[in-house]
Symmetry: C2
Subunit: 362 residues, 2 copies
């Protein structure tokens, strides 16, 4: 069983602006400690396979960042997307690279580069089980469902169908349906009903399984990927890739394949997962000062509550007086002050900056 992790690291992390910047996005930041989220992801996966097997997909503009953060990654393991095109083309491209290097039986473990995992051992155990399931069941796509501990509205949910088997003490279910991010009432109903899990965005399948599913559900994309695959063996590769890749639609693997595929399995898991989707995520994962504010940097908070403060510069002092429910992010050239309930709308700021020709702040 050849296991080949594929880390998707091409995102812009816009909801973590202004700390996450177009030239230095979220996955390269050390929001979770001393190491970047990408470094933590790679480190975790080396518990599954050696670094030589680990692949990273990202954009050309982040090549040097990946090289500096993961200096020992073989250069051939860095898969460059000519342009960001969501997860379906990204996974399709990776599948073609893995097919060339390891053959159609190789098992791809596709994971995001910017999630929090608290229990690495539980995580690896779950991934191993997923690999076994992907190996045993032909033409099958496996995903990880996270046991929800609150009616979160920021995640998609997976409803399970009947149990298929038991591997390494993990029950493995057929997926009944994927559902988009629900409103609070719906999410609460899911939790009451049971049998719903958070969609973790992690997928495990053989090269053969994912490609045959792409062929069935996204035939045009499959043709594009096939062109890319064939070009890999000769010197026109880069030209073909740059020409063909942008033709593929910007579609997620969830929408393009997972929701339509016949044979999707899910392994429920509970290894302390968080997608670190926006600044408010930090409230779930960092210790609160005085039990109320989440603070990093040279900050004084007086009579302030439920605020999130991230300050870069040691010399600069940030003072909060009588404030509530704010996100404050101070960087060298930008200070963001955002109401916590607007954390999802930071992209609005970026749109505004583009409109005003202030790209230097992006």
């Amino acid at each position: 069983m050849k296991i080949v992790p594929v880390i998707m690291a091409g995102g812009r992390g816009e909801r973590f602006w202004p700390k996450s910047r177009i030239k230095f996005p979220k996955q390269f930041l050390n929001l979770l400690g001393q190491q970047s989220m990408l470094q933590l992801t790679v480190q975790r996966l080396t518990g599954l396979v050696p670094l030589e097997n680990i692949h990273i997909v990202t954009g050309e503009e982040y090549r040097s960042l990946v090289n500096s953060q993961i200096p020992d990654l073989p250069s051939d393991n860095l898969i460059i997307e000519p342009i960001g095109r969501n997860t379906a083309p990204c996974i399709g491209l990776a599948a073609m690279v893995v097919k060339r290097k390891y053959g159609e039986d190789a098992i791809m473990v596709v994971v995001p580069s910017d999630h929090l995992i608290e229990d690495s051992i539980g995580y690896l155990d779950t991934l191993k089980t997923a690999c076994e399931a992907a190996y045993v069941y032909d033409d099958t796509l496996v995903t990880i469902g996270i046991t929800p501990n609150e009616p979160a509205t920021g995640y998609g949910y997976i409803q399970i169908d009947k149990v298929i088997t038991q591997i390494n003490k993990h029950s493995i279910y057929k997926v009944k349906r994927f559902v988009e991010k629900p409103d609070y009432e719906t999410a609460a109903a899911y939790l009451r009903a049971g049998g719903y899990y958070w969609n973790s965005g992690m997928f495990i399948f053989t090269v053969d399984s994912i490609l045959s599913n792409i062929k069935t559900h996204m035939p045009d994309m499959y043709k594009n990927l096939q062109e890319i695959y064939l070009a890999q063996h000769n010197e026109t590769y880069e030209r073909v890739l740059n020409y063909v890749y942008p033709q593929m639609p910007s579609i997620s693997i969830d929408y393009g394949v997972m929701e339509k595929a016949d044979q999707v399995l899910v392994i429920p898991a509970d290894f302390g997962w968080d997608d670190i989707g926006s600044w408010t995520s930090l409230e779930r994962i960092r210790t609160k000062k005085d039990g109320t504010n989440v603070i990093r940097g040279n900050v004084i908070s007086l009579d302030s509550h439920r605020c999130i403060v991230e300050a870069d510069c040691e010399e600069k002092l940030i003072v909060l007086l009588g404030t509530e429910d704010l996100i404050v992010v101070d960087t060298d050239d930008v200070t963001l002050i955002c109401s916590k309930d607007r954390a999802q709308e930071i992209k609005m700021v970026l749109d505004n900056l583009k409109k005003c020709n202030q790209e230097r702040y992006l």
Copy 2:
């Protein structure tokens, strides 16, 4: 009639921290436009008398700031307080200097250095009238009462008694009483009742009147001032001043003299006055962007309302998203984010900084 303006410029302006700093307080800042508030005050008073007559009282630490901002001020017109001791000692000291230079009949026009005056002509006209009244009525202290346009709780009030005379079309009243900053209900009752004016902190009197009143109501302070006066004529002056001045109690002229004096007159006036007492004052005097936020600097505000933003650095971008009723002040080394209803409590921050040995931010 010798008119001698005395500008009190020794304040710390703590409520305008972090823009107002211990080394560069509010009166030296250009919060109201291109010039500092001190410069605007001096400029206005040159409509009354030449610069040679204008005196400034401040602390030693601000000598060079005054010199750089008012380079043509005669050095003898700069009165240095060895230590900040509120307005009674400050005015007493100035009275002794003016007595030496101009004699007991000179009329002192004592004004703060950090107030907004919109209508300079009306202001000068009122001051001239006040000087005439101070000249005509022996042993009299004259003050300016501002016609209130709202039940402000940030000002003291002056209740008028019977009208005494009419000079230059101004009615001049005897003061019935001074009242401390009232609560909102009381202030509203004052406005309904009529006959109440805001205490502007401007005082006009002859040297003789103020000194005889100090002698009556603060005899110990008078003795201290007398020692200082006598020392002026010889070389021990500075030593005596440094020894005697700190012995005087830190008391306001309002509390120490005005509230107790027999013969206090008030001239009601309405020349667009504001004491610029805290960051929220800016809402009254500056134009609001989109009718809601008061903004200076490189700032983007999205869905934000009733905020006050003051940003120093051109290169640094401040972004507000979905915030309400905030004061945001960004300087080189400090960013303050303060709920607007806590504007009066900024001193709390300064106390905190002292406690934590972070004096460099004061």
